[in-house]
Symmetry: C2
Subunit: 254 residues, 2 copies
DNA sequence: TAGTGGTCTAGACCACTCC
DNA sequence: GAGTGGTCTAGACCACTAA
């Protein structure tokens, strides 16, 4: 049992303790409490959460307040709600949610999932760039993965992935699935919540050109992605170089 | 006075008319009603809307239902709500909201707004590509605008804009501001609600290279944007070609 | 002081799922 | 039929703004 704010019955919003700066709405406190539990793995992906009523009683708030927090977590794709069944921790290995972080689309418009082939894997001391992107200390080590990926049967992308070795113990020895983020969640308890991508146009190096079957110097799209977990820690750095002859990067702005 | 659904007092959600497929929640009907009014220009950008209570009485629903609709419109950046003051139609000519649709960022991280210089303007029959992107009929005409844009004082981008001439009467004779979308809203009553961007890497043509001060064949980022108004009509096609030596395209994925 | 949006509660009924 | 989330209402009090 863990009560929040002033709780209790009757109207009023009920300020939390303290008197100065800090005022967080109750629904925000509930949101953060549930988010912390998700980050700690109290509920695993695919598992069902207690019902709105149970959570409300446990936390000492009204059902409407719990609902508002659950709605926010659902909007962030961390939960899935199904009428008549319950509220579940989102699983991101589904066909459709592969495309949550994968913005490349075939010109043909086919919704085929990308295939992957691992070229290399190794553990090594982190480079300066890797320490910078991942917020690592000087002595830190990383696991590096290099892959080729194909869309619609056409190889179009080569990507270099760097992971903090301390967060992914033993990953170098595992079979790597096509969608790494479900592996991160299921094996290492790390849920990717946000990613920041920076795109540039570059000329292919001779080595990249060889792997992609293109001429050296050809223009290519470089995608520099840092992915963050529920605690907003940088967890993965991924540098992708992509041929965009039959493929483009799609972005919807609102 | 315009009432929605079954309205009235007491509990119950109240289904709308008909018996078969269609069921739209009341708050959704309110949302659509308000959206239609915005699209029709009933309230101009910057103007205040009636209060929650007034809207609730007018539409014959509870204040909570109106609130839910207003919150959704606020989340879509169409409204701005200010505690103690009221609800306003969003204005998108502010400094910070220039970056709503402009995703290029200087490597230096400076938040300086981009500058523009118009190279050419003309009206002409729509090309096949323009008809395709803008959903135009065979005889339609477009206004074309070509601009150079600079970030941090460095020219980095050349863009070709195509507008349906029927939607923008007389735009060829106007002074063009740096941020076109506020002009679209204020002079032509067209609010841009969504844009779809497709990014590719291309090699600079000799002409583009000349304008951008780079070598022909240099890799550049091509941004193909179609912008839609509140009625989801395609309203602008913009093809930008950008040097990404000191600039990148930033995207946040959730 | 009056009016606005923001938060919180309590309770009703509906739609869906499963037993 | 029991239990879940989804919708809707009514009413209270708080925080902020402006006159």
């Amino acid at each position: 049992m863990e009560r929040l704010g002033t709780g209790g019955s009757g109207g009023g919003s009920g300020r939390e303790g303290g008197e100065g700066v800090g005022f967080r709405p109750l629904y925000r406190q509930v949101h953060d409490t549930l988010l912390r539990r998700l980050a700690e793995g109290v509920w695993q992906p695919g598992q069902i959460l207690p019902s709105e009523g149970e959570l409300a009683r446990e936390l000492g708030v009204s059902q409407g307040t719990v609902r508002k927090a659950l709605d926010a977590l659902t909007a962030d794709s961390l939960l899935v709600r199904r009428q008549g069944r319950g509220t579940f921790v989102a699983e991101h290995d589904d066909k459709q949610s592969v495309f949550r972080f994968f913005k490349l689309r075939s010109e043909a418009g086919g919704e085929a999932a990308p295939e992957s082939r691992v070229l290399a894997r190794a553990e090594a001391p982190a480079s300066v760039d890797e320490r910078d992107r991942l917020g690592l200390v000087r002595q830190a080590r990383v696991v590096r993965i290099e892959r080729l990926r194909a869309l619609d049967g056409r190889v179009c992308l080569i990507e270099a992935i760097a992971l903090p070795a301390s967060l992914f113990p033993g990953i170098a020895a595992l079979d790597l699935p096509n969608t790494l983020y479900s592996l991160y969640a299921n094996r290492f308890g790390l849920t990717i919540a946000v990613a920041r991508e920076r795109l540039r146009a570059v000329a292919l190096s001779a080595r990249e050109a060889g792997h992609l079957g293109a001429a050296p110097g050809s223009p290519a799209l470089e995608i520099d992605r840092v992915a963050f977990d529920l605690d907003e820690r940088p967890v993965e750095w991924r540098l992708s170089t992509c041929l965009t002859e039959h493929v483009h990067y799609q972005s919807i702005l609102r």
